[in-house]
Symmetry: C2
Amino acid sequence: MAKFKKTKVEIEGKWQERETLVETDDLARWDDDVRLEKVGKPHTRVDGFERVSGTARYTHDVKLPGMLIGRILRSPVPHARIKKIDISAAAALPGVRFVLTNDTMGDLLKRGRSSLFETTVRFEGDEMAAVAAVDLQTAEEALALIKVDYEELPFVFDPAEALRSGAPAIRKGGNSAGEPSVYRRGNVDAGFLEADVVLDRTYSTSAALHNCLETHGAVARWEGDHLTVWHSTQNVFGVRSQMASALGLPLHKVRVIKEYIGGGFGSKNAAGKYALCAAILSRKTGRPVKIMLDRREENLAAGNRPQAVIHVRLGAKSDGRLTAIEVKSISGVGAYGEGSPPITGPARELYACENVLAEEQGALTNTGTYTAFRAPGYVEGTFALESAMDELAAELHLDPVEFRMKNYADRQQVRDLPYSTKNLSEAYTLGMKKIGWEKKRNLRSQAGTKMRGVGMASQLWSGGGTPPSYAIVRMNADGTFDVITGSQDLGTGTKTVFTQIAAEELGVAMERIHTVVGDTLTGPYSVLSAGSLTLPSVGPAVRMAAKDAKDQILEIAAEILNEPSEKLQITDGTIVSQSGSRISLDDVAQKVGNYMIIGKGARGPNPEEYNVNTFGAQFAEVEVDTETGEVRVLNVVAAHEFGRVINPLTLGSQIEGGVIQGLGFGLFEGRVMDRNTGKSVNPNLEDYKIPTALDVPDIDWNAVGPADPIATNIGAKGAGEPPIIPPAAAIANAVFDAIGLRIYDLPITPAKILDAVRMNGGRV
Amino acid sequence: MAKFKKTKVEIEGKWQERETLVETDDLARWDDDVRLEKVGKPHTRVDGFERVSGTARYTHDVKLPGMLIGRILRSPVPHARIKKIDISAAAALPGVRFVLTNDTMGDLLKRGRSSLFETTVRFEGDEMAAVAAVDLQTAEEALALIKVDYEELPFVFDPAEALRSGAPAIRKGGNSAGEPSVYRRGNVDAGFLEADVVLDRTYSTSAALHNCLETHGAVARWEGDHLTVWHSTQNVFGVRSQMASALGLPLHKVRVIKEYIGGGFGSKNAAGKYALCAAILSRKTGRPVKIMLDRREENLAAGNRPQAVIHVRLGAKSDGRLTAIEVKSISGVGAYGEGSPPITGPARELYACENVLAEEQGALTNTGTYTAFRAPGYVEGTFALESAMDELAAELHLDPVEFRMKNYADRQQVRDLPYSTKNLSEAYTLGMKKIGWEKKRNLRSQAGTKMRGVGMASQLWSGGGTPPSYAIVRMNADGTFDVITGSQDLGTGTKTVFTQIAAEELGVAMERIHTVVGDTLTGPYSVLSAGSLTLPSVGPAVRMAAKDAKDQILEIAAEILNEPSEKLQITDGTIVSQSGSRISLDDVAQKVGNYMIIGKGARGPNPEEYNVNTFGAQFAEVEVDTETGEVRVLNVVAAHEFGRVINPLTLGSQIEGGVIQGLGFGLFEGRVMDRNTGKSVNPNLEDYKIPTALDVPDIDWNAVGPADPIATNIGAKGAGEPPIIPPAAAIANAVFDAIGLRIYDLPITPAKILDAVRMNGGRV
């Protein structure tokens, strides 16, 4: 039962006391002594067949009777003032049903932006108009017939340049994307004065694209004044409220459905402008409208990890104790970004240090707008901080791990609270052992032109989840169960782990359970699937709902068996009493018939006296070809702490995916802009390089530490972001170990290696 | 909370003690002193726009990507042994994806019938094979290419003939569709001996077709081993369990969806063989498959009200007291029917009589199988009983209403229990007054060739509803609500009345509420929408769920206002305290945010110490043209008791629809079989006559009596069947009043009127 009361919540990074609802969670943690039967076992995906057989339905697969295809006209230039849009030829094209501009839109857009399209376009790919036509080809022909008169304006795409005075102004009042975010602890000036060694370095990272296999898109259909949107999204409830708000609809008139999704990685957390265009075009034409971006649009306009420049200054005593950490970042958040990703997060939290200054500044640029990308900020910030730590360890003549252990944080540094659990030191020990740290370090002198080295980096991320989230567990008349939540499965195995949790709590086989997600009408509210939130936020609600259903079943069985319900439990689908009497769940279900057991569960509050985090370390072994500049990653040992492992198979997939995506960020990926035109030269998958199967190293992943006894009733923490955080730094540090040269700018391309070698006089 | 305990339930017409679940319903009845704001008011349909604008989606409208069209091969003869089916030419036709016969089906059919298709076909329209093809035309061409060798067998379609020895045997062991159902009370032989007057008559009624505007049909789609069926049905949960059972699937792998439906009237209570064919063809082809019957198939094979012969014997004292009632019926339940509709129900229950013998016998015939049709049995049985009562009143020189009042049943006759309410006498009084009974009776002598008369008939039906049914009420983050049940709206206004009930209980405007039905996944279990069950079964669960949600909201408001929740109520969307302090629901919703209030409601048990029924009487004024034989109904006054009226608009529609459908049954409708071929000569809407707008009389409908204080927490009873029960008898009695001649066989066609006049020597 929800109660309204004062509690501490994090609002924009600050913990404040606020009145909020709190859902009771009086459920005991699963005792580690309890033999868990379903949880902790490697189960294949419950929807594996659908995924591999082509029957899984993605937003891209949605086809509705009478459906029109919509396309969006996008700016071909990075910055221009639109003087006139002439849609007459497009509107006259047979098969075109509507051409949407600010002029033709009417008053459908209610809140938020004053107009759907900007009158000044601010990046290549910025939306200018949209059409709906009977098919894709007609829609594309229509786009080509729209005449736009525009006056080109000077542009800027480098974030540091954008902030300089005299840079082309993207918004009135300059290119700062909001006030810098500043965090201070202690006194860094004093800390640097106290230091024996100070390291001062600047790192830079490239704008990286999410490259979802399924591009962004949506289908909109109206029935009366009720709107249904199929949206490739990580956040069905968020999209619902955003669509409702933009169109001035109450929430109960908007339904958002996402069945299967081909990747999101943070880029699909919100309703896209394409979805608004689809909804408005559908309203105008009286037909369903589908808009899916093509790969070029996807890469230009669907979001990115922003290009960043990160300045790190570390001070340490000669014994290795950090006296000051200062990190200042500038990131290019694109034309319409706000604020900055939390690049300084690792600097604030990862190490015990009394004096910290962390400053983040976002810069508007004439590029696509930044969106969250798996561990936003932390990937960039960890590359910088953990590269600097490696370099400082070398200056201090300390082993990198030893240096980190000297600054090990036993308490959460910002809130000054104990951690619910922290087993990062175990991760270090295990990683060192498994990679062969002692044996493989510092072999530089023994190598030929292909030089090998090992490096490591640490990771910290939240991962404890958050309320509110809800689940319903229903027993059908044959003793099967539906587990229903308003969560969504990003392909990470959400349905599978929810099924395991419910099966464990109910004491039944997984086959008895059907888990349903991805529909705001069918499922109760659940948080978005981002930020490693899903499992620790919704999983506990699933367990609560299963417990509630189980309690009702046991009460009924108690009457049948004439035993007190407290003495009953369900094991392998049979209700068993301590006295030995028993009845199968099938028999109970048959007696219950169409009377439906409906269990309800809610996510309880987060602990107020502890900080819940995930930790980990990755160790990489690389081989650097000093003649070609090529870096190959041979092995990665990933050791992460996620509390209880619900499913080793899906966890392994998460870690492997993260390592590979991090490797791509470290070695290959980056949006490349043309200085003369301000356009992207690689908005595609030919020229934008992501790792292929041949680039994937042997990945030895490991979960360390026990179930978290405090975090939630399932003891598990989120594993989405952590694995992508350390790879780039671990690889950069391994490259340094291999050739003694450090690359400060990602990705570590062959050209940069060769440049570094050349700058070093050819010496490695 | 559900508890398992012993309670009395009706099993096959008998009340037995049985262990069953009982849901608590501690909700107070709405006091009649309470000013109800939403309930009782004439609200137009909440989905009126969708219905009239074409955006409402019927099963017929479902189109899925890659969907195939299925068609069924049906027997062209009424009875034949199939020797061979050759599908080779059909299977070879380009565009044909699968031809389904018992041979090609494999082992997909798990339970129930041993095979999907019969090897002996038993009526014109019986299923023999099915095809799935890329479009309708190809599927129909394929049907024409299937060669069936069959040996024709003798047939019988008249129910009485079918039971005679020597009749063609439709099933081994003869044509009895089960043992006769016999009910005895007292001693009829003694009753007839005691009688001063005995009336002995035989009535007959025709097989009537439901004529749903939307024909029967389904669409099936598999995703892995999960099956989704869109089925034009009155019973999504029933279809789910039937499909699951037939295909050997657990319930959680089957989802049934019915959005809008174009009529059911009892014929869509179950999964059709077309749905099984669609599911199996879909499994075989890997594509969604849609099968919708055409009008001819619909009229041959989608069910009917069976042809019946009803023998009535009534005994009465000269003062009008009934001493014995004996009713024996034979109905032709078609080739695969079981049992008989409850034709003798009115005889058992309508009048106080100590001696009753009621016998029902079903006869197999070579015709389409009978299914429930709005007030099954009661329409036929009431025509017979109320015609006989009218005739006996004349013999006793009593006014027909006076005669009925002399035999008024104050207690339920079969269970010997008091009624929760019975206000039939009020209906009589009101009907007499409004039709002008005293003035218009017995005007025969004053008329010319167009003679007018008035007649009346009574009606009794259950109507109290039944558990189990469930509802969920959720509050969204903007203070709007979703009311979700697994019920279905047959077009009767279910969504509208649920919305009214929830709005009333929550104290908010109806616009704040979105009511959702018709999906086994989205909604919790609800009973089928048939037998006048929906409102009194699901409505109370909706009220309970709204109350549960409201209680949670008030608890939260209590903490905000710092008042005890017992002192709070919601009025017009504002939470008001007795102390005068208040907060709007919008403000509470904003504070609650994404925390979701989820209310759950269940239908409580029926009262054990009372019988809950609906009662009514209809009075008809007719004009009989003695030269053409045409009967025109000029006026109908319908006075019915349904307890509390939730929505006068939708109730009026129900009554008008019932009167019109009953009028059609009385005057026009009937399946006509060809004696030589055993085929129907009118399986269409040209030759099968239903009332048109020009045949519709002025209908003055009235609800009598107060809210039922016992039935359920909403005090309302079901209005689906009652209005169709009395019209045929009232019209037949009015015809008798007009011309002094009685027609014993429905429909009362001009030919029968002219025959009767002729038989009477031209005298009227």
